[in-house]
């Protein structure tokens, strides 16, 4: 007597199923056939209902013939490019880097549709082995060119014990309704130090999905900065795992959303062993009818005593119609820990604005100053001066590009 509702599949799902079948990924195709794309009923997609947001999926990407100008140039950086899922040949690598290629996806299996899709569709992956400390910034220029295309690519990075490096990933491409599904897997050896920055500068018509998985060994230090400033629909998933005592993560992100955009940064971090720490810090700025989503989950395993983790999200609303939705989450199984989270949301402080304007600074300029001040905290810790300047450029570009 009980009735079950079959999942109704939309155009995007039909295309995905056909594409998956064409590459022999029947299991993932079956998964979509049964469950469809995640809706708000799926906890981890509560605010990013892919079923309604992703209306159409373009054909699978073919190798690119032409390339647009690089979205971001950092003087002195060593550049590698993946265009339309194909790894491009590169100049000789600086000392300490071994560049290679491997088959297929890089992410660990996980109950997540973007992870499954990337695993099924990414043909080969770029591998970087950092044997010793690398000075120049390593830039991975990931782009989708030409006609609207559905592209999946993947990158795997190993940072050897004691090595340090800075990796910048930029996402860009031609102005078309692309769907990009990018994956990055990073393993940090003992006492390795990595700064990992990803900047989405895709065109507004593009849907950008990225999943970054991190594994930190003893004493490893990771700093990330995710900046969303491009695609109309974007979701970046961050899955750090602290697997060695003394591992520490400063997982940070910046959601810049304008009218009509939907940007989601979702972190799901696991403190797996005793004595690890993390300080996730995310900021969202929304204007027009933009929608910013930040979800941040801290899982502390039964054994992970003495974990010290504090998640923070700050939202800034620049218009009355904007939306900032946040879901911090604590899931704690060890009793001797110091964990917390905070989430605030509001508009620019009237008093500060008045202070600046009463000193002769026009309103718009005063607002920009305050917003810059609000963001300073995220860009400040980046040591490479040329890189920091480039990032400031991205932020200013967004602030002025109303």
């Amino acid at each position: 007597m009980r009735q079950t509702m079959p999942v109704r599949l939309g155009a995007a799902e039909d295309t995905l199923i056909a594409q998956l079948k064409s590459v022999g990924a029947d299991a993932t195709a079956e998964r979509i056939t049964v469950a469809g794309l995640p809706t708000r009923r799926v906890e981890s997609y509560h605010y990013t209902d892919l079923k309604t947001l992703l209306r159409a999926v373009p054909p699978l990407a073919q190798a690119a013939n032409e390339a647009s100008a690089p979205a971001l140039r950092v003087p002195g950086a060593y550049q590698l490019m993946i265009a339309n899922g194909v790894i491009q040949s590169a100049s000789t690598a600086p000392a300490g880097i071994i560049v290679g290629k491997a088959d297929g996806g890089v992410l660990s299996t996980r109950d997540d549709i973007l992870v499954h899709l990337n695993g099924a569709l990414a043909k080969d992956s770029l591998t970087l082995t950092l044997e010793s400390s690398v000075d120049p910034v390593i830039q991975i220029d990931r782009r989708i060119e030409g006609e609207a295309a559905h592209a999946a690519d993947s990158l795997k990075v190993f940072v050897a014990d004691g090595a340090s490096a800075t990796i910048l990933e930029t996402f860009s491409g031609s102005d078309a309704a692309h769907v990009g599904n990018h994956a990055t897997y990073v393993a940090l050896g003992k006492n390795a130090v990595l700064t990992h920055i990803t900047v989405d500068l895709s065109a507004r018509a593009t849907s950008h999905f990225a999943t970054n998985e991190y594994h930190l060994a003893e004493g490893a230090k990771l700093r990330t900065l995710v900046i969303h400033a491009g695609a109309g629909l974007s979701r970046t998933q961050l899955f750090p795992r602290y697997e060695g005592a003394g591992a520490h993560g400063d997982i940070t992100g910046l959601n810049l959303v304008s009218d009509g955009q939907h940007a989601d940064i979702t972190m799901d971090a696991t403190h797996a062993v005793p004595g690890t720490s993390s300080q996730p810090l995310f900021k969202s700025i929304a204007r027009g009818r933009g929608k910013a989503v930040v979800q941040g989950k801290l899982v502390v395993a039964r054994d992970a005593q003495k974990t010290d983790a504090k998640f923070m999200h700050q939202g800034l609303m620049l218009s009355d119609e904007a939306e900032i939705l946040s879901k911090p989450e604590l899931e704690i199984y060890a009793d001797d820990v110091v964990c917390g989270h905070g989430s605030t949301c509001g508009k620019l402080d009237e008093d500060s604005l008045f202070y600046l304007m009463s000193r002769g600074i026009p309103q718009e300029e005063a607002e920009t100053m305050l917003v810059r001040g609000f963001l300073e905290e995220l860009v400040d810790p980046i040591e490479d001066a040329a890189l920091a300047e480039a990032l400031h450029g991205v932020i200013d570009g967004w602030l002025l590009g109303k």
């Binding site: 009980r2 939306e323 060890a334 989430s343 605030t344």
Partner: protein, 500 residues
């Protein structure tokens, strides 16, 4: 935990009373776990349209009510059980359950003398006075009006006459359906729609009893109103429905308590509580939830799947929820406020304590719709034993809720390393003028705190009780006086034996 067998041979010079009180800590502390032999009238087992008709007929309900229930039942058939909560439990077989159980007594007792004495004795044992207390010479204590609900029916409601003098209606919902149909039709399901969720819809189809409160315009209810819920029969579910309406400028404080016998089976309690506050009205709703939590191995206990929601319909109205959750095997409960009226206020104060194999997923929703609405959430979760304790709360400001304001603080305390404490807030700001603040922490009782207390002569358990009481104090102070003392005792009972 020590067993009787683990106690070494007693020395002569040890005070017998001390030993007894220590040993008493180890036996199951659930003191309401007795069962009362009262003959009951039951519905046939299982759930079908016939069950719904049976319940409606038993209650002498008008046709509109039966139609309403049947529609809910048909709707329910198309729904599935929610799975998003962080609780895991064996599914209940609804076809192996009784949906109606009522103590057999004269059909409509005119006075307490016609009520089965065993029943009054049971309530006495639970500490609930059903006889309106005579005022003793020189000793005047505030009265509390009680509606006592056992299994599926309300057995007695006290102080009705005194309340009716000021125009307050306080009776069981079944009576209200018969006697005040226009009020019930106007407000029933106006806060929790029939198809709101799986359990609420099930409740709409098969609810059996509960309380109905109507406070007329401008009246301040002269005493605390309360309902005491008791599940007694085996294999029954309790589906209570409470509706409280506070007209403009009125005030009411309402308390709810609940207990059940110890059994090794799981029983279902799926209630719906609706509050409506009109202009400038204030409703204060306090719950001390102490359903049987199951034994130390996690066997038995009540599934408490409850939908509670208040609607601040009028401007400047206020609804305040205070809850102390110590019982139930599984708790799934989110008392919420819809802040519809401009300037309305919602408050939620909660202490959720879990021990043994209890699983709690509880919190609140504050939906800001009106201008300048404000809400405040203070939630304290304490997990011990093998339990899981989740706070899940939503705060949202809609586009028209200019100047909405929320402050949330949720703290969790872990006692022992086999339990889990989780916090899942949903913070949704759809409006530039809304200001939201959310803060959450998780910690354990520090060694320093314990050392400090023990150094001053407190035992380990006394020290834990003291620290925990300090931890939850900002919630306790929002409970009515009579409840506060009781709750403090309850907290120390729930946590005894959880140290180490």
């Amino acid at each position: 935990m020590a067993d009787y067998d683990d106690i070494p041979t007693l020395k002569e010079n040890i005070d017998r009373a001390t030993v007894d009180s220590v040993l008493a800590l180890d036996v199951d502390k659930y003191k309401y776990g007795f069962e009362t032999a009262i003959e009951s009238d039951m519905a046939p087992k299982g759930l079908s349209e016939d069950t719904v008709r049976f319940i409606s007929a038993k209650k002498n309900e008008p046709q509109w009510m039966l139609d309403w229930r049947l529609e809910a039942y048909r709707r329910w058939l198309t729904m599935t059980e929610p799975t998003w909560a962080k609780v895991h439990y064996p599914k209940l077989d609804l076809q192996d359950m009784y949906f109606y159980a009522a103590p057999k007594s004269s059909p409509a007792p005119k006075s307490l003398d016609e009520v089965d004495p065993a029943l009054i004795a049971m309530y006495d044992k639970l500490g609930v006075p059903l006889r309106e207390r005579e005022i003793l010479a020189g000793v005047e204590r505030p009265n509390v009006a009680v509606d006592a609900v056992m299994d599926s029916v309300s057995v007695v409601t006290t102080f009705r006459e005194e309340l009716s003098k000021v125009g307050i209606i306080f009776c069981s919902i079944s009576e209200a359906i018969r006697e005040y149909p226009e009020l019930v039709q106007k407000y029933l399901a106006s806060v929790v729609p029939v198809s709101d969720n799986y359990y609420a819809t099930l409740n709409s189809a098969v609810f059996t009893d509960g309380s109905f409160v109507y406070i007329p315009k401008g009246v301040r209810c002269p005493m605390e109103l309360s309902t005491y819920f008791r599940i007694n029969e085996k294999k029954t579910g309790q589906f209570e429905r409470t509706l409280i309406i506070a007209e403009a400028d009125s005030y009411v404080s309402y308390l709810e308590g609940c207990t059940a016998p110890m059994r090794d089976e799981n029983q279902l309690h799926a209630a719906v509580v609706e509050l409506v506050a009109l202009e400038n009205a204030e409703i204060k709703y306090s719950t001390v939830q102490n359903w049987y939590p199951g034994d130390k191995d996690g066997k038995g206990g009540i599934y408490n799947f409850v939908t509670k929601r208040g609607d601040c319909r009028g401007d400047n109205s206020k609804i305040s929820w205070t809850q102390v959750e110590t019982g139930s095997a599984i708790t799934w409960k989110y008392p919420s406020c819809i802040l519809r009226g401009d300037g309305s206020r919602g408050e939620f104060y909660s202490i959720a304590i879990s021990n043994g194999y209890q699983q709690v997923d509880s919190g609140t929703k504050m939906i800001h719709l009106g201008k300048n609405t404000s809400s405040r959430i203070i939630a304290k979760g304490i997990a011990a034993g093998f339990s899981d304790n989740t706070y899940r709360g939503q705060v949202s400001a809609h586009a028209k809720a200019k100047g909405a304001r929320n402050f949330t603080q949720c703290d969790s305390l872990l006692i022992g390393d086999k339990c889990g404490a989780h916090t899942v807030p949903y913070i949704e700001s759809r409006n530039g003028t809304a200001v939201f603040e959310h803060e959450a922490t998780t910690s354990k009782i520090s060694d320093d705190q314990m050392f400090y207390c023990q150094q001053r002569g407190l035992s380990e358990e006394e020290a834990v009780a003291l620290i925990v009481n300090g931890f939850v104090r900002d919630v306790l102070q929002h409970l009515p006086m009579e409840f506060m003392v009781e709750t403090q005792k309850l907290i120390s009972i729930s946590l005894e034996g959880s140290v180490g």
